[in-house]
Amino acid sequence: MALEQILILITASLLCGIFLRNRGRTWFMLIASVLVIFWLQPALPIRGADFWIPLATLILVIFTWRLTADDETRKQCKNYITLAIVASVVLLLNLTRFIPQLQLFTASRPPQLETTLLIFLITGLTLIVLSRLTRFSASFLTVGLILTIGLFLTLKIPALTYWTSYFLRSLTNQSVNQLRPTDFTWLGFSYVAFRLIHTIRDRQMGRTPSVDLGEYLTYVIFFPAFTAGPIDRLERFIKDLRAPFAGLTLDTFYPAGQRLLLGLFKKFVIADALALIALNDTNATQITSAFWMWIIVYAYAFQIYFDFSGYTDIALGIAGLLGIKLPENFASPYLKPNLTQFWNNWHMTLTQWFRAYFFNPITRWLRSWQKPLSIPMMILLTQVATMLLIGFWHGVTWNFTLWGLWHGLGLFIHNRWSDFTKAKSTAWATTPIKQAVLNISGILLTFHFVALGWIFFALSSPVTSWLVILKLFGVR
């Protein structure tokens, strides 16, 4: 998000916090979120894609709600009101096709109105058909899960994205000569997918709270957290959403304002300045000295932290103005003395998500084997698999695979090392100075391990990454 966009969102949220109460605020959050997903979607070479993609997000969320909501909630009248309002907002956006001066929320001219109406009709009919097939609802949940994961993979595997772009360009009678995987960029889908999977899985486990369509839509596409998280849990979000909102007070304004200022400073001053010198594919090949190579690797490590945690602060600040307390995502991760603690404090909502929906279930499954694996082997498998998946979440490429592997193996080695040395280090670190030495050396070691891992993350090819590592240690 650009600074201007963030400032507009802050102003709108501030005005909402001052002037709106309870239902007014809830409607504001829903309508603003719908508008924002259209507004933030960048222009794409595929004709109309910047309108169809946000619309597809809305339809996907509505279908998932239909699958996860219980019968009683589904029948509530307010869901139809929500549907009508959301559809009206989309239609109004589509109508700006005829008034160029009002095309403020879409990157390009919206498509034909008839196509949108046809999509509405198909969506409505599908929802009706689904409601008649309630006895298959459990199977539909599985289908929904598979479709969401499938769509996620399509967006993350370059070859699939390429073919999707090819298909969409052919569909819109556009040339396929200048095809690029980036033709099909679905803004915010990584986070949307995680929220959808979370609710589908919890529904399968019978843990999903009962929420109406408006609440569900607001949760999944909540505009402060739409592009960069954090990934909240539905039951926690709903608690804040349903809590009475008496408007913004000084007590809520100050922490939110402080968070916003901090976030803006982190993102637009520190991170953007570091971005000028941070490691990238170009400068990786231009620098020959080990000293300067370390400097740009450090610059990248801090740039990614300040950028991401800055965005999180901004999200928390804007949400705070609206009376929503989003979960924390970062807690001084670079000051943690080991890799396990680093991952407990870096992008915390993502790691918690993976712990809940992958690591814990797979560990339980491995333990349930008649002949269970040895503990170290089980730890190795689960840690590496989890970190590989986190790597794939960023993109299915060799470098993200290596990054996941680096951290998976790191976590395993730390686990084994800590088991092996725990008693010895406790016996040695008997004085505060010795404890400080142990702590500081742990922090330095962990930071450098993470910084080396960022090389795979920042660069696009394993060969360049390897060359950078060699240069860092003066080998090349």
Partner: protein, 367 residues
């Protein structure tokens, strides 16, 4: 003490302090550009900052002359007893478009390890990629602060037209410096020249002038990449060669033959020599591409119709003789195949040839 913090008071105090800070900045206009990380934390730049694509060149164009010169290697190089210091001013051909720092004229002179009057010649590139004599005089006035033993002023006819003198952004944004030159060295500047960017009081505050502050900070940050990679320019893999075929067009800046001296900034040349004072200065008519393509009987190159350039050369020779200036005319010293993307930009081999042509004049003009 158990005093609770009152956020509203903190906010009000913060705003007042920020307002005061802005007012002080606007009133005092501190010369923050003088403070630089170059030549301290980072090595000094071999040429002045200039860049139109900072992300690729790790360089940027800014208007703060203090910051520009503070980032230059000359600012951190105390003059040794055995150093014969040469500063070279001029346009992009001196700065070195498409050339690495060591390939420029200054780089080639240093590479040649010349010895003049028993001292080691050390050349500094103070060229800047815009063509205007007034800009050159401004750079020279800064360069003189570094105690040169010889100044080489590379120029060409296109730097002379009056309308170009203050329209170049670097000059337009440094009115005070230019007016100072007018007072001290009789540089002619119109009192109401509309080209100068005049800043209101608001534009002088920290908020109003934030772009300049950001540029200075960015320049410091790019010091990392300059020190790390030694890159200060984007070098495209391919570029379009200088044009050699032309329309049968004899026009030049709305001037007609004979060249009207009143339409040229000849006064800037005089001012330049005044700025140099006792320091010897070589005024060099820089080499240019002499085309042999279509209509080359009418035009020498993209810049010049033959009549204008021939008259300019005659005028320069006469002027130099009349004023006692040391003038070197190297207009045809470099063969056409040693030019790159412009009629004045040379290849490394061309720059080497130019350095060899200039070396004898350096020996002649040392004291």
């Amino acid at each position: 003490m158990n005093q609770s913090i009152k956020p509203l008071n903190v906010l009000i105090k913060g705003l007042i302090l920020f307002l005061l800070f802005n007012l002080v900045i606007a009133a005092c206009q501190p010369r923050v550009g003088q403070f630089s990380l170059y030549n301290a934390l980072f090595r000094g730049r071999e040429r002045l900052p200039f860049g139109e694509n900072p992300r690729q060149s790790y360089n940027l164009s800014l208007f703060n002359l203090d910051a520009m010169f503070a980032s230059h290697i000359i600012d951190g190089a105390p003059k040794a007893d055995d150093e014969f210091r040469v500063i070279i001013i001029g346009d992009s051909s001196v700065w070195g478009t498409l050339l690495k720092p060591e390939e420029t004229l200054a780089g080639q002179l240093n590479e040649a390890s010349l010895n003049a009057c028993g001292k080691n010649v050390r050349a500094y590139n103070l060229g800047y990629p815009t063509i205007a004599l007034t800009k050159d005089v401004m750079m020279l006035s800064y360069g003189m602060g570094y105690d040169p033993d010889l100044v080489i002023w590379m120029t060409t006819l296109d730097a002379f037209p009056l309308e170009k003198q203050t329209s170049t952004p670097l000059v337009a944004n440094n009115e005070e410096t230019v007016r100072g030159l007018a007072t001290s060295y009789q540089l002619r500047v119109e009192a109401d020249d509309p080209n100068f960017e005049k800043k209101s009081f608001w534009e002088k505050t920290f908020v109003g002038d934030r772009r300049s502050w950001a540029d200075i900070i960015r320049l410091q940050i790019y010091g990392v990449m300059w020190s790390a990679a030694g890159i200060d320019q984007f070098y495209p893999a391919e570029y379009e060669k200088a044009q050699t075929d032309f329309e049968a067009d004899e026009s030049y800046h709305e001037l007609t033959s004979p060249l009207n001296e009143d339409a040229l900034a000849l006064n800037a040349l005089e001012a330049g020599f005044n700025v140099a004072g006792e320091t010897p200065m070589l005024l060099v008519n820089e080499p240019m591409l002499i085309s042999s393509g279509a209509n080359s009987d009418i035009r020498y190159n993209f810049f010049y119709p033959r009549w204008a350039y021939d008259e300019y050369r005659e005028m320069m020779t006469a002027l130099s003789q009349a004023n006692g200036w040391t003038y070197v005319d190297l207009w045809d010293a470099i063969p056409a195949n040693e030019f790159t993307n412009s009629a004045i930009h040379l290849t490394p081999a061309g720059e080497k040839l130019l350095a060899e042509n200039l070396a004898p004049y350096i020996f002649e003009n040392c004291k």
